[in-house]
Structures are given as C-alpha cells and as structure tokens.
Subunit: 325 residues, 2 copies
C-alpha cells in the first residue's frame, strides 16, 4: 500500500511523536520512538513530526529531537518534520538535517505569551528570521518552513478569536517567507461551518500557501471538522496515532484526531492516503511498549475494518463505475 506522492490524494502528517508525546510527562525511550517512526513509515505514512526543538529544560521528553531527526532522515521516502518555537530551535533543527520546520504561531495573545513567551508579532518575526536563514542555505540542506496558526478557531483563555486577525496573520506569515500556513484548532473549539468558512477564506487570502488542518478531538468534533475542511479543499491533515496527547485524567478528552480513524475516513471516502491500516494499527504496540498503560484512543483499531472494505486505490482500479450504478 505504501504510495508515492503521485498516487495519493491526501497527505496525513503524523504528529504523535511530537504533539502526542510532548503532552505526556514521562519520556518514551529514544530507540522506541525511532522504531515507532520506522513502523509508521513502513505503514505508508509519508510525513512525521518527530520532535520539538524546545528547551530540554521545559520539555525533557523532547530532549532527543536531534537524535530522532538524524535517524529519521535515513528512512527512505519519509519527510521529517520538527517543531521549532523560535530561531534558536530552528538552528538546532537545521543542524540536525530536518526536511521541514513547523512553527506554531498563536493567534491568541494570551495563549502566545503562555506558550512561547512572545507576542504573535514577535513570533512572526522569528519565522521571518528563520526563513532568511534558510534562504541563505544551499538548496540541498534548506528546510521548508511551515506555520500552523494555533488557536485559530478559538482559545480557552481568550474565548473567540477574530477571523480577520487570523487572516491578516496568515498574510504576514507568507510575506515573512513561510511556504505554507495552516490553521490549528488547539483548544478543540472549531465547528464544521467555521472550518469550511475559514479554510475557504485562507485560500482566497494566500492561495496555494494555504496549508494543513490541525484538529484536536477535545469535543469529539475532529473528524466532522475534517469533512468540512475537505469540502474547502484542504488536502493535508495532521493526526496523532492513538489520539495520543489526551489527558489520562479526562477519559474521552483526547488530543489530536486519531490517525487510524482519519485514514479510515479518507480511504472509505475514496481518497487515497497510501497508508495500510493493518500495519498502522500494529504500530500501536510500540507506543505501549515505550509507555506502558498509556491510554490510546480510536474506534477503528477496536472495531476493525468493515467486511469487504476496499482501499481507495483498489476501488479506483476495480470498482470505478460502481459509484454511479
């Protein structure tokens, strides 16, 4: 099932090793993180956010980012992403050889200060400096800079967030040199009507620079929001295996949307991901080896695939006319 860029319709970007693991206080051993990344890639995942170049004092569970990047870039066909909160983090990522740097820039001032101790404007400035640094690098070692606008759909501190402000930020970020700017529902506030409206507007404002949708499933709306984003033309989705990152003290309040359920949604809808669900589900065992007892979410891993389930790529070959029959 592993696909190349040309035979897939949707890019599922796995953020579990970063967004998932950074929410868990205990650290997963580095060799198991790497084995997990390899297993995800073998299942057909083509892009993985492997870690975060934050201060190891703040997030010791992310201290192995260099090591993970340097190993992951050897995995054939895999695009290796890492988060950088600022120029310093970006420099570490570049030195490690990362393919893509992802910057979280929060639309909410309160969240921005709490998260990275910078105003949104200061965070945009860090993106600009990073893009300038990257532009000076030889093309072979030049990472792509991607931004996700955090709290784009609302903030648990500030409540509602101005859509106009989010769009202005997106334009500033493209001017600063970001290759793509996506929208992130950090607090699980988004609804499908808002998602469709905002991603359509994002495309109007910044064209092909419009980037990924990043949804959390805090209020169970994650896949509903994916349907709306698909409708608005989004073709890159962040997701976390097992919905990793959910608070273990709040059952059901999972973190990111669950990769397994997302891949099933897309393939069932006839959108090719290049991912094999059985192999993907099998990779959950590695998380539990590294983090025994950690609660994993997702319905497809429990329920299994429907009888006679056909992947989108196979459906196109064998059953193309069936849809209109």
């Amino acid at each position: 099932m592993a696909g190349t860029l040309s035979d897939t319709d949707v890019l599922v970007s796995e953020v579990g090793p970063r967004d998932g693991l950074q929410s868990i206080a205990r650290a997963m051993p580095t060799y198991l993180k790497h084995r997990w990344i390899e297993a995800l890639a073998a299942a057909g995942i083509r892009e993985i956010e492997v870690g975060s170049f934050v201060s190891p004092k703040l997030l010791p569970q992310m201290a192995d980012a260099e090591q993970l990047v340097s190993e992951a870039i050897k995995v054939r066909g895999l695009t290796v992403l890492a988060l950088a909160p600022n120029l310093t983090g970006a420099e570490r990522g570049i030195a490690a050889g990362v393919h893509k740097l992802s910057f979280p820039v929060s639309a909410s001032r309160e969240h921005s200060m709490a998260n990275i101790r910078m105003t949104p404007e200061q965070a945009i400035e860090q993106v600009r400096m990073t893009c300038e640094l990257c532009a000076a690098l030889p093309s072979a070692s030049r990472p792509t800079v991607e931004v996700g606008i955090s709290t784009a759909f609302g903030c648990s501190m500030e409540g509602s967030v101005s859509e106009d402000w989010v769009m202005r930020m997106a334009k500033h970020l493209v001017e600063a040199g970001a290759a793509s700017v996506g929208l992130s529902d950090t607090a699980g506030y988004a609804n499908p009507a808002q998602v469709k409206r905002m991603f359509e507007r994002l495309r109007c404002e910044i064209g092909d620079h419009a980037g990924a949708a990043h949804f959390h499933n805090t209020r169970g709306q994650g896949l509903a929001n994916v349907v709306a984003a698909l409708d608005a033309g989004v073709r890159t989705f962040d997701a976390s295996q097992g919905g990793l990152g959910g608070c273990p003290y709040a059952p059901g309040a999972s973190g990111n949307i669950v990769t397994e359920d997302l891949v099933f949604l897309l393939e069932a809808m006839g959108l090719r991901t290049g991912i094999d669900l059985d192999r993907l589900i099998a990779a959950r065992a590695i998380i539990l080896e590294g983090l025994p007892g950690e609660p994993l979410y997702g319905n497809v891993p429990t329920a299994g695939l429907p009888k006679g389930f056909v992947y989108a790529s196979a459906a196109r070959i064998c059953h193309e006319p069936a849809h209109s029959s």
Copy 2:
C-alpha cells in the same frame, strides 16, 4: 432553551431509552427510565423513542414499553416514539397511545432474517398492514409510521449493500404508507461521501418522505457522517445520550452517536436544536442511577462548553452580522 417546532432547525430524536437500553442485558428500573425521559424533555429534547414493542421473551429489558408510552405521552410537548418490529408490536403501541411508530426494515437479507426473522419484503408487508390499520383509526389516535432502513450503508454479515436496492425499498415503503423513510447505519459502515450521495438520492426518489439519519459511531465516523447528511439536507438525526448501547467489552466501540456531542456540533454550526446542553448533560446522572457503572461516552460532557459559547438561537439574535465580519 426549550424550543417549539418553529424556532428550531434540526430535530434531534433521542433513541437512548430504546436503541441504547436494548443493547444492555440488565434492565433499568421503569421509574428511572421515566425520570430520564422527563429530564431529557425538560432539557429541550422534543422526540424520544421510549421503548420497543418486541416480545418481552426476546428482550425482557423492553418489557415495560406500554407503561413508558402511557407515562411519556403525558409529558407536554414531547413526541413519543416506539419501535415495532411487526404488526403485533404496532397494535400494542397503538393501544398504549404512541405518537409515532418506528419500523426497522433491513436492506440486508441476512440481517433481516437474523433480526426479525422476516425477509425485507415480508417486513415491508408488515409496514403496509400497519399503515392500513392506522388509516382506519380516528385521526386523534392515529400514529405516524416511520421507517428506518437498517444496514442501508453496509452489513456486517453481507458486507456491501446495493444502493439501488435501498432506494427501491424506500419507494416501496412510501407506497406501503410510511410517512417517512430514513437511512440507518446499523453496523457503523457509512462514510461521508456515501452518506451525502445516498441521502441526496433518497430525496430525489421519495421527496419530502426522506427521513432521519441514524448513525452508529462504531468506527468513530458518526459526526463526520452528520456533516455530510446536513449537506444533503437531512434535518432529523437519531442519537443516544452517552452513546449508550456500546459494548462494555470493546472500549471506544460505542453505539449510536452521542446526543451531547451532536447537539454541540449543531448549535456550534448555528443550527438551532432547542436543547440546553447543561441540562442534557445533567440527565446522564439518571442513567448511572439506573445502571450503575455503565460506561457512558461523549467528549462534550468531559470537556465542557468552550469559553464564550453561544447557542445558535442567541447567536441569531445578538451576533448575526459577526459571521461576515
């Protein structure tokens, strides 16, 4: 928040007391079922499937259907629905004074035989006889007959189910006298592309007789399918409080879509349900009083409402222009 028909956009039909409780072997005491129904109605739920007129030998936990109907019809403003698998059950429901009878008619032959020991054609014949019986009743005591086509999106025994056959069944059922015919994803097989296609086609085939969407969350796709059904014009959704009906031996494999999460989705999208989420969530306590330790699902009850959340009805009064700002 309790609304009348005129100030709501979407009808949420609560099926927990029937679809939920019939999946649980132990019986909830009748007085608590009734208290639950009253609490749901007080939260603004306008239609409840209170029980099933099946043989009490088959489902002893549904043996109190007569009593529940005769109590529930006293609750002001509430439409009282009950399931009838055949003419005999319908007669019991009519005698109890039910407002609506819901018939499950399965598109899958294997599922139909296993579920009600009739072929789909025989089940349609039971609907016809029931509609004839109802037509002969004085209008004040004449229930509406609604049908949900079970396994309309696929069957765990037969696998895929012919869409043409589902549409032919819908037409036969309308000819047999059914006031509305909806589509039910009994096995959790549906995907949003299929949902949109089939509900659009249903409306083409049977016009305003096109009825409710009934989704199970077996593979986590329930609310994603709701978004697609809304897009196809569906405005009645079945749901179960706490996702009741999930197998306690398969965590995450919940039953129907969770009423609490559905109501949040709709209200957040600006669609009025007339339901107050705080009062709805409070009603969960009655389930747990009647069925101690029963696992309840749903993310909104855990996460709570977003800061500054505004119900659709209030949004229309106060913030109508904000959407385009």
